[in-house]
């Protein structure tokens, strides 16, 4: 995935885009349908999500997110924009400084962690896995999330520590 995105970013390679599309478009479509889109609307939205991936490829930083995470955030924003017809307030950009190529070690570390997280979620007991899916696919409201006791937040707690370490590390370099 990282390699496909690199080819999109550096070579503007359309065949890499097609491969990325074949992997993510059906997942993004499923996400949008679960968010209440009808199939036609979902496909229109999928096109825009995937086109954003292409146009914004230069902003993707593999030391901060997996490709799936990045696509998830684009799909979520598009959902708010197109389906809920709302603006999405976004936090201030961090001052990362002049963008150098990300540290290869950071990239490998982050991508390994992401793969482990995907495995850990797949391995959860079904009830918990379904709950996590519902929460992140936007099928639970804020108050419903607060009421859920079965959400395996332990997995997330250790991720937060790692994300914080990574954030500090990245900011130290600027």
């Amino acid at each position: 995935m990282i390699e496909l995105l690199r080819r999109i970013r550096h070579d503007r390679d359309e065949s890499a885009f097609v491969d990325l599309f074949r992997h993510f478009a059906p997942r993004v479509k499923a996400f949008l349908i679960r968010s209440g889109a009808d199939p036609a609307m979902a496909e229109e939205c999928v096109q825009e999500v995937m086109a954003t991936v292409w146009h914004k490829a230069a902003l993707f930083d593999p030391s901060r997110a997996s490709v799936a995470t990045w696509v998830f955030t684009i799909a979520r924003n598009k959902k708010i924009d197109l389906l809920r017809k709302q603006k999405r307030p976004e936090p201030e950009d961090l001052a990362w400084g002049p963008e150098a190529e990300p540290d290869q070690e950071d990239v490998v570390g982050l991508q390994q962690e992401s793969a482990q997280l995907t495995e850990a979620i797949a391995a959860l007991p079904e009830k918990q896995r379904i709950l996590i899916e519902k929460a992140y696919f936007g099928e639970l409201s804020h108050s419903e999330i607060a009421e859920q006791t079965g959400l395996p937040l332990g997995t997330i707690k250790s991720r937060i520590r790692l994300a914080l370490d990574r954030l500090r590390h990245a900011m130290d370099k600027t």
Binding site: E43, Q47, A51, A65, T69, W70, F72, Q86, P89
Partner: protein, 215 residues
């Protein structure tokens, strides 16, 4: 940009923000706090990583060839340019600047009496966001909430039963919270206040309080 934040977002709010289910006004408060708080920003990144893993592991739904064709057409056309964010403001983080349309001096304040000023920001209406300007030393009326109220300090500080709240701190109050915030220190207090239901005032105060806050 790193500062001492004592009062953070809850996990539930960060999770709901990462899932994109919060009302626009609540998202605005979350995005503003995230702009000032590295710890919550890291938590958001972690939640988004979970979102990515859920997306990766989810059951796909077949996509038509026409959809791929449409996407290819889109990538061959130039995208609409991104809106340019205004120059940074020392009080208002970028997400608030987007709603104010510039800097603190562009806020369309309206007097709410007794030196208090407020400006309602335009969002969809399932929750309301307003900037409040409270002179140092001023006490706000005692009030409870039907829903949730988020109060994020941008300048100065206030204190109530929940503790001391300085720049970047966010107070999250629910139905059972009765509180009487007092603007502390010598600097006037500027806050972002977000409610997802109208406030209710206790005792003799409603008649005084309603015109005071114009709600």
């Amino acid at each position: 940009m790193t500062m001492t934040i004592r009062h953070h977002l809850t996990d539930e709010l960060i999770m709901a923000y990462s899932a994109g289910t919060l009302p626009e006004a609540v998202s605005l408060a979350v995005a503003t706090h995230l702009s000032l708080c590295d710890e919550c920003r890291a938590a958001l990144q972690a939640h988004e990583a979970v979102g990515g893993s859920v997306l990766e592991g989810s059951d796909p739904v077949a996509v038509s060839d026409a959809c791929l064709k449409g996407a290819l057409a889109l990538i061959r056309t130039a995208p609409a340019p991104d809106p340019v964010r205004p120059a940074p403001d020392p009080v208002l983080p970028a997400p608030l600047q987007d709603y104010v349309g510039g800097s603190l001096s562009d806020v369309a304040w309206r007097s709410a009496g007794m030196g208090v000023r407020q400006a309602v920001l335009k969002t969809e209406d399932s929750a309301t966001a307003r900037l409040l300007y409270i002179p140092a030393g001023m006490e706000m009326p005692d009030h409870g909430h039907r829903g949730m109220e988020l109060t994020l300090v941008l300048q100065g500080a206030f204190r109530d039963a929940g503790g001391y709240f300085g720049r970047g701190d966010i107070e999250i109050a629910f139905e059972d919270t009765q509180h009487t915030p007092v603007a502390e220190g010598s600097v006037d207090c500027i806050c972002l206040a977000v409610t997802d239901a109208p406030l209710k005032f206790s005792g003799l105060l409603p008649r005084l309080a309603q015109p005071f806050l114009k709600i």
